[in-house]
Symmetry: C2
């Protein structure tokens, strides 16, 4: 690809061209240097989108919820981007396909751009690639960007830390998530949704959540708990209003720029650290000295930390 082709890809992307956006994300996802180059070019156009991250256990209904939110946002005349972070295991490839099917009703709408990103086992690289993809959507003029991660742990929350607003989606009976919140395995999100709220245990769960939140420092704002039934669209306007309210609040308090500054700082450091690790791994991949060192570790003649020190000394020397 010649530089002029890249230029025109950037131009088409900023003009909102869907195919250019799809191609750009593919470049980023495959760690192609042209992808990073593109982000560099269009970066000045970013910072306009409202980025919302949604996390929660598989099956909690995040995709259905995002589909319903997308419908509502489109009715309000806003353009939407959806990024699903899709963990793929060696044996359940495509297990989450069902989730994506829930979004098909938007496939023909040019103002809705949906993309799954797979966890390819790159060390922390998925989080990097996700931010780059979100930046590309932002530059392409998407006004609302929904990031979706699957899982119940701090790692999942870290991925959506690029978001301006973090939403935890629970469903009645999803005891593990609430226990994780209670135990502090997961930080308190900005908004909590109890989806499938027609379940008889909904109010029990809401009380449990209130109990957990009452232990958390208030920070001048109560965490809203929104009951939804995403499949029927119920509670979705309320959730949408809470998203707007949170955004207004962080903007008014000057927290949005503070949050973005903090996120960008940790992003730069993470990109550096991942590259250092990747370089290290590729150097050690076929290094006979490292294999000899490792043999000593396996035979219990050299401990892992001392072996690490020697590797680092060799690097510096």
């Amino acid at each position: 690809m010649s530089p002029s082709t890249t230029d025109s890809l950037a131009e088409r992307l900023v003009a909102g061209d869907r195919r250019a956006l799809a191609r750009a994300i593919t470049l980023v996802e495959s760690d192609d240097p042209r992808g990073w180059e593109l982000v560099r070019e269009v970066y000045p156009k970013t910072g306009q989108a409202a980025i919302v991250g949604l996390t929660g256990a598989p099956g909690a209904g995040k995709s259905t919820l995002i589909s319903a939110l997308t419908k509502l946002r489109r009715e309000q005349g806003r353009s939407v981007g959806v990024l699903s972070i899709d963990p793929s295991s060696p044996f359940t490839q495509g297990a989450l396909l069902g989730d994506r099917i829930r979004l098909t009703e938007h496939f023909l709408d040019k103002e809705v751009f949906i993309r799954s990103m797979a966890n390819r086992g790159a060390l922390g690289g998925l989080s990097e690639a996700t931010l780059q993809a979100a930046l590309l959507m932002d530059a392409a003029g998407r006004q609302d960007i929904f990031l979706e991660t699957v899982g119940v742990g701090q790692a999942e929350v870290d991925i959506i830390d690029h978001a301006d607003t973090v939403v935890l989606v629970l469903m009645p009976g999803s005891g593990d998530s609430i226990q994780a919140l209670k135990a502090g395995v997961m930080e308190i999100p900005d908004i909590i949704v109890v989806n499938k709220a027609d379940h008889p245990l909904t109010e029990t769960m809401v009380r449990e959540i209130r109990g957990v939140l009452s232990l958390a420092p208030a920070e001048g704002r109560q965490i809203p708990i929104v009951r939804t039934e995403a499949a029927r669209g119920e509670g979705v306007p309320e959730l949408s209003a809470e998203l707007d309210a949170h955004r207004e609040w962080i903007e008014a308090e000057g927290m949005l720029s503070e949050r973005r500054r903090r996120n960008l700082r940790s992003e730069v450091i993470s990109i550096c650290a991942n590259r250092l690790r990747r370089d290290l791994e590729s150097r050690l991949q076929t290094d006979p000295e490292f294999e000899a060192l490792l043999a000593e570790v396996v035979e219990r003649r050299l401990d892992p930390a001392s072996a690490a020190s020697r590797v680092l000394e060799d690097l510096e020397g």
Copy 2:
């Protein structure tokens, strides 16, 4: 501390002195160089213990289970070490205290050593410190070491990847964990326990687990599903037998040394990568050039990846 004091600490530790072991783990946990030095010294004595990792959502009953297993192993004349990886959040400090209370019945038994390790937000440092602590217990002659992590995600499984045998503890109704397994968020463990098996939904859950496992590659061994009621000791002898059976199997197939070699390899690389990251962070902490670079990123004049490239160029230059 003079070298001779360290020597005697190592000697006392290898002789099985509990106070020496406690002191040694504290040194490792506080990232004291003397801790690393100690591990270096006693490392040749390690590799004897059977290390079992247990993971699962908070509330699944892991501590009760470990307590019951400890009782049984003690009756068999074996010495036991327990390491609880205890995530602490800024607002629920001590939330897991209740878990530790379940282990108090063993506090007076000198052949049982129980220790909690807190997540201090060190970047990946907890996993490092956990392995070091496990090595210390191993050198101190503990025959069975139980590592306990709280959470439902790959990050939690990674921490107990130092173990020879990985056990996932579920309870009926803990839908999130099984969903995580199904979706491939979490890798298949060596043994699955359904605890609180007096629950009416136990058999439904066992069927669900069988369904998930039927999608997984067999690798020459069926993953056992053990029903327990840890609080009453039920099913614990069966679990104990499955732990032994798994260990025999990996030893017979030559997989134990293969697994340990792989674990030690990734451990050495992780220690290196964490040190590189920590060095980077401390260099950037008060670096005015980095702050200037960051200001450009925040003002959307320089993208995060390009900023990272410049940081790395400066490091090398």
